[in-house]
Every structure is written in structure tokens, then in C-alpha cells.
């Protein structure tokens, strides 16, 4: 499976390299989009220096981790983002006539390399945050950081999976899902507690952003020594299960109606 994915990967890479100039312009655009969010953040902190109990460096670390996860998901799970058109142009029928798992094939059908631009922005903030946020690094904290990135990739990919699954049921109104992907990545730049109790509860129990963002961040920064917080990002990965069930339901519907 991994070897096959590698082949898909090299085909996508070759395809992109056919249009080098266009690719680099688009990637720059993607970088600038993220950079402008960062610039806004910078301006806010020049004026205020802190938000609630978090310093600029701590927020940068928080945002870097989140953006890295989000951009990775955008790059590798982008097949789900264009899934409505894959249904419309018959590409999904083709997928069903091939002897491989259909989720694997949708994932492999598109790799959006342009997102590397935004990922670069995430990476710079990530590295800056690691160096400057004043974290007392221990093996357990390094592990926590890795879990946070993994949790972000999985939760955001699950949201894209859900987004794609909705395309089985309706073609209109899918824009609504953007709140949970783009909205969450943009507003997740701040630790989620600053939005108040209600929002934190929502982001803990409904869509588990806080499990890979806020709680493990507290552990990272030494504000909490609750060991559970280290592993909460792994708990957030379970979010993929309900999304996958909706997808199964969608495939079932598709197979029985053909549309």
C-alpha cells in the first residue's frame, strides 16, 4: 500500500513539474495568504503584548503546531475537498472499478503540493515557537509536541473526509463545512480558552480541536502537570470514526442510487 502510494506521489510530482512557473507562483500565493494572518497576529501583539495569559511566543508556538497539521491535511487529504467534482465527472465510478479501497484511492488521487507554501509559514513559526516560547524541554514534552501535530493532521483530515462524504448527499451548501476547516485553522491560532468557556467546551466534546491544541499546550508550557494532557491528542484521533461512518453511509447510498 505504501509503495503504491509512493508511485501515485511520484506521478503527482511529475505532473506538477510540468508547470513549474505556475506552481511556484501559486505556492507563493499560498504562503502569502498564511503570512498575512501571521502579520495580523504580529500587529496585534505589538500593541497588546499578551492575550489573556499567553505571550506572543507562546501563541506563535500554538499557531505553528496547528498550521503544520492543517496544511499537511490540506496537502494530502485534498482529494476529499474536490470530491463533489469527482462524483460529477465519473472519476469515482472509475475508482469503484479498481481493486483497491476507495478511501485510499481518493486520498491518492490528489496531492496539493501548493500547500507547501503555507506549510513553510507553519514550519517557521513552529521552529521559532520551540526556541522562544520558554518551554522546559523534556522527552515527555517532545512527545507531546509530536502528538499535537499528529492529532491536528488526523482531525483536519477527518473533517475533509466528512466534507467529501456530504457530497454524496447534497451538492449545494457544502460551503458550511469551511467553518470547521478554514475557520478552525484561522481562529485556532490562539489557544482556544481565549474564546470563553462555551467555545472551549464545544471544541472539546463536539469537534475535538482543543484535545490537540489547548490542553497539551498547557502541559507543554508547564501550566499543568496532568499527564492525561500528553495523550489527549491521540484521543482526538478517534474523531475519524464518526466521519468514516458517514462516509460509509454515503458510499452505500451512492451504490444504491448511482448518484
Amino acid at each position: 500500500m505504501l509503495k503504491l502510494y509512493g508511485k501515485y506521489f511520484s506521478i503527482h510530482l511529475k505532473s506538477v513539474m510540468q508547470y513549474k512557473a505556475s506552481f511556484f507562483i501559486t505556492m507563493t500565493g499560498n504562503f502569502l495568504t498564511q503570512f498575512s494572518v501571521f502579520l495580523g497576529l504580529l500587529f496585534m501583539f505589538q500593541r497588546f503584548h499578551r492575550v489573556k495569559d499567553f505571550s506572543f511566543q507562546e501563541v506563535i508556538l500554538c499557531y505553528g503546531v496547528l498550521l503544520l497539521g492543517f496544511q499537511t491535511a490540506q496537502m494530502f487529504a485534498s482529494g476529499f475537498k474536490v470530491f463533489d467534482s469527482m462524483i460529477a465527472n465519473g472519476q469515482f465510478d472509475r475508482i469503484l472499478t479498481r481493486p483497491r479501497n476507495e478511501i485510499f484511492q481518493v486520498l491518492a488521487s490528489r496531492i496539493d503540493f501548493v500547500r507547501l507554501g503555507g506549510m513553510l509559514q507553519g514550519l517557521v513559526m513552529f521552529v521559532y515557537g520551540i526556541a522562544q516560547a520558554g518551554v522546559d524541554w523534556t522527552a515527555l514534552r517532545v512527545l507531546t509536541l509530536c502528538f499535537m501535530v499528529i492529532g491536528g493532521v488526523v482531525v483536519f483530515s477527518s473533517i475533509f473526509l466528512l466534507d467529501g462524504a456530504f457530497a454524496f448527499f447534497t451538492l449545494e451548501g457544502l460551503e458550511f463545512m469551511n467553518v470547521f476547516s478554514y475557520g478552525a485553522s484561522e481562529h485556532g491560532k490562539y489557544p482556544l480558552s481565549i474564546y470563553g468557556k462555551g467555545m472551549l467546551t464545544f471544541c472539546t466534546f463536539v469537534v475535538p480541536y482543543a484535545l490537540f491544541q489547548y490542553y497539551p499546550l498547557l502541559f507543554l508550557l508547564g501550566r499543568s502537570d496532568n499527564l492525561w494532557f500528553v495523550f489527549l491528542p491521540l484521543v482526538s484521533c478517534w474523531f475519524v470514526v464518526p466521519c468514516w461512518l458517514v462516509w460509509r453511509l454515503g458510499v452505500h447510498k451512492y451504490k444504491s442510487t448511482g448518484s
Binding site: 501559486t26 500565493g29 502569502l32 500593541r47
Partner: protein, 268 residues
């Protein structure tokens, strides 16, 4: 003129059809607005003395921004079909019609923006004005300000449509319309005050940004509404809007003349 009015009417009716999409958009924008206001509130609570605007005026700014997103954000009214026709050369069919492409695109763009905004503005305003102070949308301080807001909003619409046409015409000269779109959207979003309102910019950079056409898109009308921008400063801002409204149309038309020459020479 009559034919451009027809384009306008046709496009307006077309855009009104997408009701479910509009509903989804409203829900999106409502969430987005709420999150943005809560984030500003966190900064406000941390250090109220450093807050450069009245908090209620900031909340009002955000709600109007969300309600008018389709009208004032660059991507709110761009038409993917135009980019397609430029890229695949179908633009030559448009050239066969007895109309000015510039005026047709301009009319279409105004119609798109107005129709989409109308569908979304009303529900956002309705809900946001019911929210408790200081989180809700406030009414303008007096009728004169309200009228000035409408004037400034119309000028802003004109400026953003004229800028959209500049972007359309720039894509004639590039190989990647997705790239040009991304760059122009992120640049204009930031400089019009869609990421952070201009009063939050550091001094120096703020004065510079205020002179650019982008500040005439969101920054001016949304701050006129709440009275944040008033007096001689407001008059200057509105005059700047008028200047850019003319200048961007001129730039767009010049670019188009050059671009179409290329199309004719290269045969699409």
C-alpha cells in the same frame, strides 16, 4: 448603456437563485464573525487602554464585514468563468459581440456582488443586531452618518469592482490565474482591513496603508458607519475613494487594451 443594464439584471437574477448556498454562507459568516469578535474581546480584556477603537465599533465593523463579505472582499465577486475564458482562449467569442468587454465584466461584477451581498446581509444584520452590547451590531449614531455610509459603501463597491477588473486583465499576462488570484486576494484582504482593521496597524505602516486603494474597500465605509471615522478625516477618505474609483477604471482599461492586442496578435 441599456445593454449593460441587461447584463446587470440577468446576472442579478442568476445570483439570487443560489439560496441554499447563501444560507450556508450566512451560517459560515456568523460563526466567523463571532469568533473574530471573541478574539478581539480577549485582547480588549487583557489591556483595554491599548484598544484603538471603541469595542462596540469594532464588533460592528466585524459584523458589517461578514454581512458585506460578498460585496467587498475581492473573491466575493470574482467570476471563475472569466478566468477560464482567459486561460482557454474562449475570450475570442466574447470579442465577437458588439459590446465593450470591460463594461460587460464590470456590470456583471457589480451585479454578482450586490445580489450575493443582499442575500447574506439581511440575515446577518438581523441576528447581529439582537446580540447584547457590546457584541452586537449597533445602529449608526445619526441619520447623516447613515447616509454618508451608504455613499461610501457604493464608492467602495465601485473601487473593488474596478480592482477586480484589473486582476482579470493582469491574468492575460501570466500563466497561472490561481497564483495571481491567491496573491491579489491575500494582499487586498490584508490591506483593506479584513484580517485586522486598519486602526490596529502600527503607526507609519497604517498611514501608508490608508493611501492605498485597498483601504477604500472595507476600511472606509465600515468605519464611517460607526462614527469611528468622522470629520475632516472622513472627508479626506471619501475623496480618496473617488480618486481610486477613477484611477482603477483607467488602469483596468489601459491594461485591457494591451491585453486584447496580445490576444488578437497571438490568436488567443
Amino acid at each position: 448603456m441599456k445593454k449593460y443594464l441587461s447584463f446587470f439584471k440577468l446576472r442579478f437574477a442568476m445570483s439570487l437563485q443560489y439560496r441554499v448556498a447563501a444560507l450556508a454562507g450566512v451560517v459560515c459568516q456568523f460563526f466567523w464573525g463571532a469568533m473574530a469578535i471573541l478574539a478581539f474581546y480577549a485582547f480588549y480584556e487583557t489591556d483595554p487602554a491599548s484598544f484603538p477603537m471603541d469595542f462596540q465599533a469594532t464588533a460592528t465593523y466585524i459584523w458589517l464585514q461578514q454581512g458585506l463579505l460578498a460585496m467587498l472582499a475581492l473573491y466575493g465577486g470574482t467570476d471563475a468563468k472569466v478566468f477560464e475564458s482567459i486561460q482557454n482562449g474562449n475570450i475570442v467569442y466574447e470579442l465577437c459581440r458588439p459590446v465593450s468587454i470591460y463594461s460587460m465584466w464590470f456590470a456583471n461584477n457589480l451585479a454578482n456582488r450586490l445580489a450575493r451581498a443582499l442575500l447574506r446581509l439581511i440575515p446577518v444584520v438581523a441576528v447581529a443586531s439582537l446580540l447584547p452590547a457590546p457584541f452586537g451590531l449597533m445602529a449608526p449614531p445619526d441619520i447623516a452618518t447613515g447616509l454618508l455610509f451608504i455613499l461610501s459603501l457604493m464608492l467602495a463597491l465601485w473601487v473593488v469592482a474596478a480592482f477586480t477588473l484589473v486582476v482579470y486583465n493582469v491574468t492575460f499576462f501570466t500563466i497561472s490565474d490561481r497564483g495571481v488570484r491567491l496573491v491579489s486576494v491575500s494582499l487586498s484582504d490584508f490591506l483593506m482591513g479584513a484580517v485586522v482593521p486598519l486602526p490596529f496597524f502600527p503607526d507609519g505602516f497604517r498611514q501608508f496603508a490608508e493611501l492605498l486603494p485597498f483601504s477604500c474597500m472595507e476600511n472606509v465605509p465600515l468605519r464611517v458607519y460607526s462614527g469611528d471615522l468622522a470629520g475632516p478625516e472622513m472627508v479626506r477618505a471619501i475623496l480618496l475613494q473617488v480618486f481610486w474609483a477613477f484611477a482603477l477604471v483607467l488602469i483596468g482599461k489601459l491594461l485591457e487594451r494591451k491585453a486584447l492586442k496580445r490576444v488578437v496578435v497571438q490568436g488567443g
